[in-house]
């Protein structure tokens, strides 16, 4: 009985249709796969992406802003507090998402779910898988940054027309950090929660606090001000703020942009290598 059934099953199957594949087809397929995995969380992610800015803008922009605006905002360049923090909140939120996708989620695909081993046992190479991860995280960032921008518009904190540039700037800022966190995810074997906690507490949080997100770094003592230069978020904040409020000299913008691109490109090259090293054993 069994044998007959099995044979019938084989015969019934259609001849598979296969299209020629290039590296890009594989990148896109893997990207699509990652998007599919994300799909169940799409709506809750979207609600969070819209809800968080709303709360921050209400609490800090309006609440704390009322105290700051009362005392004069020359230090902020003459804009209201909500206008000042709007661009930085957008970049900061993108950074948060980048962290969660590049840390536990990526590490989980190596260690807990082992999906990356599944992916790379097909014609997809580790480097292509790394590319697809960068593409996927960027896509997620694009969605939430765009949503954040809409909320800022409602609050009148999105600046002029050029303010829309905040979206790509935030994506670039966040992905340049994400690739380096992915390097870590592809490297560590155990104690992931300890490692990521360290990144969060000694990386992401201080970066968010000392990168001119909530106050200009000119308010800080000289001794710590220069540290901001090493924070990708500071470069992102300056660019985003420049595009929304203007007043950023072109050469400065060029410097900020170059730093972000350099951080991203080096990290991207390293992460491809790390994926290969981890997955080809």
């Amino acid at each position: 009985m069994t044998t007959v059934d099995e044979k019938a099953g084989v015969r019934a199957a259609d001849e598979p249709i296969r299209r020629p594949a290039t590296a890009w087809t594989y990148r896109i397929r893997t990207w699509e796969y990652l998007l599919r995995q994300w799909r169940p969380y799409f709506w809750s992610g979207l609600a969070e992406a819209a809800g968080a800015p709303l709360l921050y803008l209400l609490a800090l922009g309006l609440g704390m802003g009322s105290l700051i605006n009362k005392r004069g905002t020359e230090a902020l360049g003459g804009v209201t507090y909500v206008e000042y923090i709007g661009p930085a909140l957008l970049c900061g939120a993108a950074l948060q998402i980048a962290f969660s996708e590049a840390s536990f989620a990526t590490f989980g695909r190596f260690k807990w779910h082992r999906t990356l081993w599944g992916i790379t046992s097909t014609p997809i190479t580790p480097a292509v898988a790394a590319d697809a991860h960068v593409m996927f995280i960027s896509t997620r960032l694009l969605f939430s940054a765009a949503l954040y921008y809409l909320v800022l518009l409602v609050f009148g904190a999105a600046g002029g027309v050029a303010g829309i540039l905040m979206i790509p700037i935030a994506v670039l800022t966040a992905i340049s950090c994400a690739v380096w966190i992915m390097v870590l995810s592809a490297t560590i074997e155990d104690d992931a929660s300890v490692a990521f906690n360290m990144v969060l507490r000694f990386g992401i949080i201080p970066m968010s606090l000392f990168s001119a997100s909530f106050f200009p770094i000119s308010q800080l003592p000289w001794a710590v001000r220069w540290l901001a230069f090493f924070s990708p978020l500071w470069h992102g904040n300056e660019l985003a703020r420049g595009s929304a409020l203007g007043g950023l000299p072109l050469w400065q913008a060029a410097v900020h942009l170059s730093v972000l691109i350099a951080v991203f490109v080096t990290g991207f090259l390293v992460v491809r290598k790390r994926f290969e090293k981890r997955l080809v054993v």
């Binding site: 009985m1 069994t2 044998t3 007959v4 155990d190």
Partner: protein, 309 residues
Amino acid sequence: MIHAAGLTKSFDTKGGETVHAVRGIDLDVPRGEAFGFLGPNGAGKSSTMRMIACVSPRTDGELSILGMDPNTQGIAIRDRLGVVPQQDNLDEELTVRENLYVYARYFGFSKTYCWAKADELLEFAQLTEKANAKVTALSGGMKRRLTIARSLVNDPELLLLDEPTTGLDPQARHVLWDRLFRLKQAGVTLVLTTHYMDEAEQLCDRLVVMDGGQIVAEGSPAQLIARYSTREVVELRFVPGTQHAAEPVASKLVDRLEVLPDRLLLYTQDGDDTLEQAHAAGIEPVASLVRRSTLEDVFLRLTGRSLVD
């Protein structure tokens, strides 16, 4: 040690349906016996084990462990039990030695006693060299040995093992069996579930076969084989598919015949004689084999060959 009558366990699932995992079983396990539960996945073995381990209240029926009622004296019973769960739940935040120490502390022993016990059990499980390693660094077999060692910290009178050797290589299984034999000799009552018939035959004095939440057979391995199978089995191998041609002829030779994708199984009292008759009747298999009946034959007879879940 264990007495159960009409023991029942039902769960309510999310969809509002009631799943009857155990449908009224009767059991009596005397002290010092090695007792086995056999059965396919979903037969209710693990549910029964959890009720015996006092971590799952029964839905209905009688149950007494060590003369006490799990519903009211769970802690006092668990104090004298050793439990090896189906999946190792070792403490990955602790070292191998600390795992044993901390677990012994759960039973309330003094610190010095717990360290000494930990070292004794490391020896027993042949893990002394790994004492200060992290649990995550152990192989599957080592983890299983550690879990079994851990279940012995309180010198239990009754040891419950849920699929103790599933997923282990043959060497590791034999080491474990050796350890379990020693415990049995020391008078510990063993209750185990298993999918492995050889394991059941090796370890169990008596066993029950469960299917669909009920006990479908009970007895010693030899009794079960005598009752539900024949003394010997003739296996005739064919090129897959061609065995059907020989089926009508072969079925006349014996009372019971099983057809597999590439062979016929003929259940008989005298294998050599049946094989001769088969050759005489013109059956020409690619290969043939006469072997003794095993529990596997009993098991497949009782629970069927098709997958249940």
